[in-house]
Symmetry: C2
Subunit: 518 residues, 2 copies
């Protein structure tokens, strides 16, 4: 314990999770650690949910990103959450958000603490941060994520530390904590490469603010990556072929550019695929580091990875967490404000690979809203990266629900990324390089290269019909959402499928859209 | 002449506009100076259009932004333009773009030269740049805009200089030319305040590339700012009251933050209005400097203004161009890549004020497409600023066409700025501070504060009906575009107006949308 908690004052602050949770009062704004289900405070939120069942209270909860260990579910079920930001992935919380019961503020993940620092959001009353150690001066050494923990702890009135004795002590030294100065007199943030170290390996706070230390045990929820299926492998293959081509014409070098990849099975598969290509001395400047990062490190393909969290499957975790020293000099974890910083993303010239939920024929991307209304997870860091990347790539399977839904639609039912921020689109059918193209050219290429062949004729008909009407970005607004309306009513878009491109021509135009589906 | 052209080799390169234009061949990519109708090369494009009437040719034309002196019209009429980027404002070119005759690539204005430098766009064959002087080493001193001229000249195979003897010689010294280094090893760009000077007062090029020097005369087209009407004045008043409130609660200081304002009458009026408020020692870090910049400088309210072009009315021009020395130490013109740089905008904590064409009830903004399809001008720098600003404000009148069209609609027919990038919305009716709100809260506030009272009941009905269906961002996709469809068919949205909130309840839902209006 003394090795983990080197701050002299710890004994006076030691308490149970219940006692610590009692510091959180009804109506407070609470900032908690946790990013992509890594490094979240585990026991205090659990105790808070428990208490709320007897003694109702509601709070604004801010985190880095998603919490593991079903905490968002527990807190939602206990009706603790009145407001939640900036990201989540929990099914129960998602239902509450979509029912209008929890006010969810979906934010670019680099922005939350900028807003807090300028007092554009409610001030943090209590921060709850998981630590693997506390330094002599009361500095907090985070565990598997940094997320927004540093700014939350620095800005909060009171800080609760969950000292997790199951977190590897070897995590210490992995973090690089730097807080940008106040604007408008902020000097440049000195990150100039993925391996730049510009701060301290702990979160420096006034130890007088440490209101409670709770000793915990317990692990992050393992990541639920699936092995890549055939379509995912095809997407990775298209992308790797594209990168190889860019190298061969001299537009990229074999070390490419610092890589960012979103979270999930598809992004993981794409990254893993890079081990196969003619690439070397790769680097990552990303948000979350998944299994693929360690695959590439092990393969000797990746020189360095910068992120703000590490989220691994159970199998991968076993090989990493007990063996951290092998990776130590090739990893850094930063605050998400820095891992996702627009200025740094622009400076480094990142290749950004993010996942689309759907996209329209012009390449406007919906990353968040099913059917234009129901929040899935949140925009996360995709906007931080896609807008400022040197090369912004979006990947998606061309269809969902075994072909019943097309991911390429006439008009995106929600726009998170405009066509300006989408350079390249990849599905299992192919890759559409949209750089330097006008909308009409983008549409022709995107439909031909990326849409599923069953939906291609109907998309072409929509596009041709729209072009007859004219416009820089031609559309027929009466039909623009007909695909989504059908999906909502029928559960599928099969009426827009064509076996023979001629057979069903125009059919979807003859039936007027149905108002008010149940 | 010797004072203007100090480079020894000039005599051998001196030629007519026709001779210079002959250097431009069919199929070439040409980069020209010019930004918001300031500082464009004037004679060579005119000669090119003239020649094309006899001897057809077509080119890709890149500029900083819009050209004056009807050049885009002349070039369009002469069918010279096959591709055009990244911005325009000409009625004739707009028609050609919307007819699909000119491929227009609408870009964030900070990005064009990044893409060029990485060879993600076709390489520049010829650059044509207006200059007020040529230095001893062959460096180009631009005139009233920098735009993309520096990178075009540096990247081009051949450079044509239009030496405009009518441009004030006193422009020399106003410019600050800095070209960011190649990525991924780019050091931080050292701009840390609006008055940072980090480069040279001329565009440094290899003089061996100077293929032609054309001596010209002629002025920029004057800006066509209108005096503010009552609604515009109300918008300015709401905004000034908001800023004063932010100062009084200590969230801003009386010098606010570096200000950016879009182009046009409304942005100009808002900026001018700041002369009336309790503000002092203001600064601007903007794209275009309009009359209001000089009003504020003259009023002693503005300490410094950084931009990439100066666009003035005829009356203002008379008082500025002959009197530049009075402003010299309070002005700088930079490449648009720097004036709009995401990293610098984020670093300085800019207050960005941009104009919306329409917005939806959740605050997603359409800046570009009339009826979702027809390009107006382009996204310009609005995305560079709005995404990265400390405070992103969009202004618009609540109605257009004397009330026949509502600027607040259920669903934006095109999205340039997502709700994440829109903090505050202002119309003549009021100001909606949307910071920290979830979409349902944003909608309630935006409808109440900003929509015209005639359209408010129908917007509320749409919103309430959508909320009954649920979702994080509730919508009824069947009705989402009904306002635009009515406008397209009838030329107005009057069917969504209500005198009495109860009288017409639900009317617009009973009539199904009409397919295929003529």
């Amino acid at each position: 314990m003394e090795a983990r908690c080197r701050w002299a004052g710890w004994k006076e602050r030691l308490c149970s999770a219940e006692q610590a949770a009692a510091l959180i009062e009804n109506g407070m704004t609470v900032g908690m650690s946790g990013f992509t289900r890594a490094g979240e405070a585990k026991e205090v939120p659990r105790a808070l949910a428990e208490r709320a069942r007897q003694d109702p209270l509601s709070i604004t909860l801010m985190t880095g990103a998603s919490l593991g260990n079903d905490l968002d579910k527990l807190l939602t079920d206990a009706k603790v959450l009145s407001r939640r930001m900036p990201f989540q992935v929990d099914a129960t919380l998602r239902r509450a958000i979509n029912a209008g019961e929890v006010m969810f503020i979906d934010q670019h993940l680099s922005e939350t603490v900028e807003l807090l620092r300028n007092r554009q959001l409610a001030e943090i009353d209590v921060a709850v941060v998981e630590a693997c150690a506390i330094t002599e001066e009361g500095g907090i050494v985070p565990t598997t994520s940094v997320g927004n923990s540093a700014s939350y702890a620095i800005l909060a009135d009171k800080v609760i530390i969950e000292l997790n004795l199951d977190a590897p002590a070897e995590l210490e030294g992995l973090h690089d904590i730097y807080i940008p100065q106040m604007r408008p007199t902020r000097p440049p943030i000195p990150v100039v490469a993925p391996d730049s170290r510009i701060g301290t390996p702990y979160i420096p706070i006034d130890p007088g603010k440490i209101a409670a230390i709770v000793v915990t045990h317990g692990k992050d929820s393992p990541s639920t990556l699936l092995p890549p299926d055939a379509d995912t492998r095809r997407i990775a293959d298209h992308l790797i072929e594209f990168f190889a081509d860019e190298v061969s014409i001299g537009r990229l070098t074999p070390s490419l550019l610092p890589l960012q990849a979103g979270i999930g099975t598809m992004a993981n598969a794409v990254m893993s695929g890079l081990a196969e290509g003619p690439f070397d001395h790769l680097t990552m400047y990303s948000e979350v580091l998944q299994d693929s990062t360690f695959d590439l490190l092990d393969a000797g393909k990746l020189d360095f990875a910068s992120g703000c969290s590490i989220t691994l499957t159970e199998a991968r975790g076993k090989r990493v967490w007990g063996n951290l020293d092998a990776y130590r000099d090739r990893l850094v974890l930063r605050p998400q404000e820095l891992s996702n910083h627009p200025g740094i993303v622009r400076r480094l010239g990142i290749i950004a690979i993010n996942t689309a939920l759907e996209m329209d024929i012009y390449g406007n991307v919906n990353s968040t809203h099913v059917g234009g209304t129901r929040m899935m997870n949140g925009i996360g860091g995709s906007g931080d990266f896609a807008r400022n990347a040197q090369l912004s790539i979006f990947v998606t399977k061309s269809v969902a629900k075994e072909g019943d839904l097309s991911s390429v639609v006439p008009f995106a039912s929600h726009v998170d990324h405009t066509e300006h921020d989408v350079d390249v689109v990849v599905t299992e059918h192919g890759l559409a390089d949209l750089r330097g193209l006008a909308p009409r050219e983008r549409a022709a290429r995107l439909i031909d290269q990326c849409a599923d062949s069953r939906y291609r004729p109907a998309l072409r008909r929509y596009f041709e019909h729209a072009c007859q009407r004219g416009g820089h970005t031609p559309h027929c607004l009466e039909e623009a959402f007909s695909w989504h309306i059908a999906a909502e009513r029928d559960g599928h878009m099969r009426r827009f499928q064509t076996e023979d491109a001629g057979a069903r021509r125009g059919e979807h135009r003859e039936e007027p859209p149905v108002a008010h589906p149940a």
